[in-house]
Every structure is written in structure tokens, then in C-alpha cells.
């Protein structure tokens, strides 16, 4: 577990360093994500990398649950909601800002969320249907 967490932190650290060094307007962890993704993809290509937290055994092939960085990541993401609590509590402290602008503020946000959800999901489904139809025709 420690080795897997170290690998995740190492990717984040490299991401932060890269972003600072190059001066990209991007969060460091996003670069870290891409780095870890590249490592996982390369692991499948080169057996040399498949050790320690990257050993990754396929559950279908060996019957063993994936270990290493996979299980550590799953643990982190299973509790993703928890990580938004500290920032969320900060918002409760600013409740007077909401009270000042009243119902209109909440109503506008709620309607906008519903419109956005509906528009995005409809576009996605339409585009994916058009795509499969396009593939079937020729």
C-alpha cells in the first residue's frame, strides 16, 4: 500500500514540478494523472516495468485481485465524496452570501443544472447513435 501511495504521490509531484517549471495554466495532478496512465500503458508493453506497485495481475487471467496501485486508487476513489467535505464546509460558513441573494440564486442554479444535464446527455446519445448508424451503412 505504501509503495502504491508513493507512486501516486510521485506522479503528482512530477506533475506539479512540470507545471511550475513550464508555467502551464493546468493543475499539477492532471499531469500526474497522464503520467500514471502512461506508466500503466507502458507496463503492458514492457515486462520490465511490471513490478512493485505496477505488478498488476489480471483477475480474469490469474484469479487474483489486482494489487498495487490499482487497489490503492480504488480505495481513494471509493471515498471521493469525503474529499469535498472540507471545502464544502467553507461554503456553509458563507451562508449569508446565499441568503442575501435569496431564492433567485438557488433557482437559477437548479434550473441551469437540469438544462445542462439534459442537453449533454441528449447530445451524447444522439452522436453515439449517428456514429453506430454510420458504421453499419458501408
Amino acid at each position: 500500500v505504501i509503495a502504491s501511495l508513493s507512486l501516486i504521490l510521485l506522479c503528482q509531484l512530477a506533475g506539479e514540478a512540470f507545471v511550475r517549471g513550464v508555467g502551464l495554466p493546468m493543475p499539477g495532478p492532471v499531469i500526474g494523472l497522464m503520467l500514471l496512465l502512461c506508466l500503466l500503458l507502458m507496463r503492458d508493453r514492457f515486462a520490465l516495468l511490471a513490478r512493485g506497485p505496477l505488478q498488476g495481475q489480471d483477475i480474469e487471467r490469474t484469479g487474483v485481485e489486482r494489487t498495487g496501485v490499482e487497489s490503492a486508487s480504488r480505495g481513494l476513489l471509493a471515498n471521493l465524496s469525503l474529499l469535498f467535505v472540507p471545502a464544502g464546509v467553507g461554503v456553509v460558513q458563507k451562508i449569508d452570501l446565499i441568503v442575501n441573494h435569496g431564492i433567485a440564486f438557488l433557482g437559477v442554479l437548479a434550473i441551469s443544472v437540469l438544462i445542462t444535464l439534459a442537453a449533454t446527455v441528449a447530445t451524447f446519445i444522439l452522436a453515439s447513435r449517428l456514429m453506430t448508424r454510420g458504421e453499419q451503412r458501408p
Partner: protein
């Protein structure tokens, strides 16, 4: 043992231990209730944790700075969790690769809708200009949204409020809405909630379905990118 219970409280209230414990304990209960109700949308663990902890801080007259001294250890994990998103992305890479086109089209429509709908509705509701500007980036993750808000000379803390409220509203409404309109494609459901409700929506998506979670996290990332380019443009066009 301290003879004065108040001095014990003063000591504990200043230590990170108490506030870290409170954060984890309240969340553990909220999450248990959420599981017990089979992840009912209204039992959203983020929503209930933040108001309970917020009320507790208010009752004990504790400042947010003191609270954050303990809660920062949890907040810190957002970075590693972002890196960890690489794993489900990697495991579902074939599903993702086959859906690149629908994702790009939905991204374009979704980002524009998120910004335009809130700006137009807020204008129609007669909210002051500064509030409208602060609400414009509400569908992207808090850090990016506050940066956009700052560059518009709006109020970043009001933006943070709008972002968190949007996230919670999206996380609560997505399941009933999608069931209502009969969408069974978890790629589309996840992608929509990632666009509309950033990380809090993504966390909800991971609770429902891993594929939905993967698509939500991709949508969240892409939307942060597009929205930071789009908002300044949209604001000049829509608020003439």
C-alpha cells in the same frame, strides 16, 4: 486529567485531531445512511456532512481556519485522488476510446449550455451584474472556477458557493432525471453529470457505476479546460 473541562475543550478545539475526527466521523455516518438507503439521491453524503459540520462549527463558535487545520489532511487527498483517476481510465480505455466522438460533441454542447443557461437565467431573474459574473463558471471544479471568477473581477467566494451548490444539486438530480427521461447508457449519464456538476457529480457517478464515474471524470477535466476559454467569450457576448 484537567480539572476544568473548558480548558480541555479549548485545548482540543485548537488541535487538528478533533476536526479531522469530526470530519471523518460525520462523513462515516452520512455515508452509512447513504448506503443504507441504497444510495438514495437525497441521502447525498457530501450535502449532509457539510451542513452538520457547519452547524457544529457555528454552535461551538469555531472559525473555519481552525477547522481547516484538521480537515486539510482530507482536503489534501484531492490531488492524489485526481492522479488515481488514471486507473479506472486505464481499465476502461477501450470503452472510452470508442466514444471519443460523442464525448467531443457532448462536451461542446454541454459547456456552452452550462455557461449560457446560468448567465441568461440570472440576467432574467434580475440578479446584479457582479453576481451573474460570479455564477458563470459554476459548472467547473472549484479551483478553476475561482480563477475564472477572479479574472472577470467577480467575487471568487460567491463563485465557490455557486460551484458547491451546483455540484450538490447535480449529484442529487442526476439519477431521478436520467431515470425519468429513460437514459440507460451509463457513459452518457456519467458524462452529463461530469459536465454539469464537476467533482461532486463525479463522486456520485462513481457510487452508481464505474463506467459512469470514468466518463464523468473525463467530462469534468475537459469542461474545466473549455470553460476557462469560453466564459470570458460568453460574458462579452451575452452581457452586452
Amino acid at each position: 486529567m484537567s480539572r476544568d473541562p473548558f480548558s480541555l475543550w479549548v485545548y482540543l478545539a485548537q488541535s487538528p485531531l478533533l476536526w479531522l475526527t469530526v470530519t471523518l466521523f460525520v462523513y462515516a455516518i452520512a455515508d452509512a445512511v447513504s448506503i443504507w438507503t441504497h444510495r438514495h439521491p437525497l441521502a447525498n453524503p457530501v450535502l449532509h456532512s457539510i451542513w452538520i459540520i457547519g452547524a457544529f462549527l457555528h454552535l461551538t463558535n469555531t472559525s473555519y481556519t481552525t477547522y481547516f487545520g484538521g480537515a486539510q489532511f482530507v482536503h489534501f487527498l484531492l490531488g492524489p485522488a485526481t492522479v488515481a483517476l488514471a486507473v479506472p481510465l486505464y481499465e476502461n480505455r477501450k470503452v472510452v476510446a470508442s466514444a471519443i466522438l460523442p464525448m467531443l460533441v457532448a462536451l461542446a454542447v454541454g459547456s456552452v449550455t452550462a455557461v449560457a443557461s446560468v448567465v441568461l437565467l440570472a440576467e432574467a431573474a434580475g440578479l446584479p451584474r457582479e453576481v451573474v459574473l460570479s455564477m458563470a463558471p459554476k459548472s467547473v471544479t472549484a479551483g478553476v472556477a475561482m480563477g475564472i471568477s477572479e479574472s472577470l473581477h467577480a467575487d471568487p467566494s460567491l463563485t465557490a458557493v455557486a460551484v458547491v451548490l451546483t455540484g450538490i444539486m447535480g449529484a442529487i438530480t442526476v439519477t431521478p432525471l436520467m431515470d425519468r427521461i429513460g437514459v440507460t447508457d451509463f457513459r452518457a449519464r456519467g458524462f452529463a453529470v461530469g459536465i454539469a456538476a464537476h467533482g461532486i457529480g463525479t463522486a456520485r457517478a462513481f457510487q452508481v457505476d464505474t463506467v459512469a464515474g470514468v466518463f464523468a471524470s473525463i467530462a469534468m477535466g475537459l469542461n474545466a479546460l473549455v470553460t476557462s476559454l469560453l466564459v470570458p467569450l460568453a460574458v462579452t457576448f451575452l452581457l452586452r
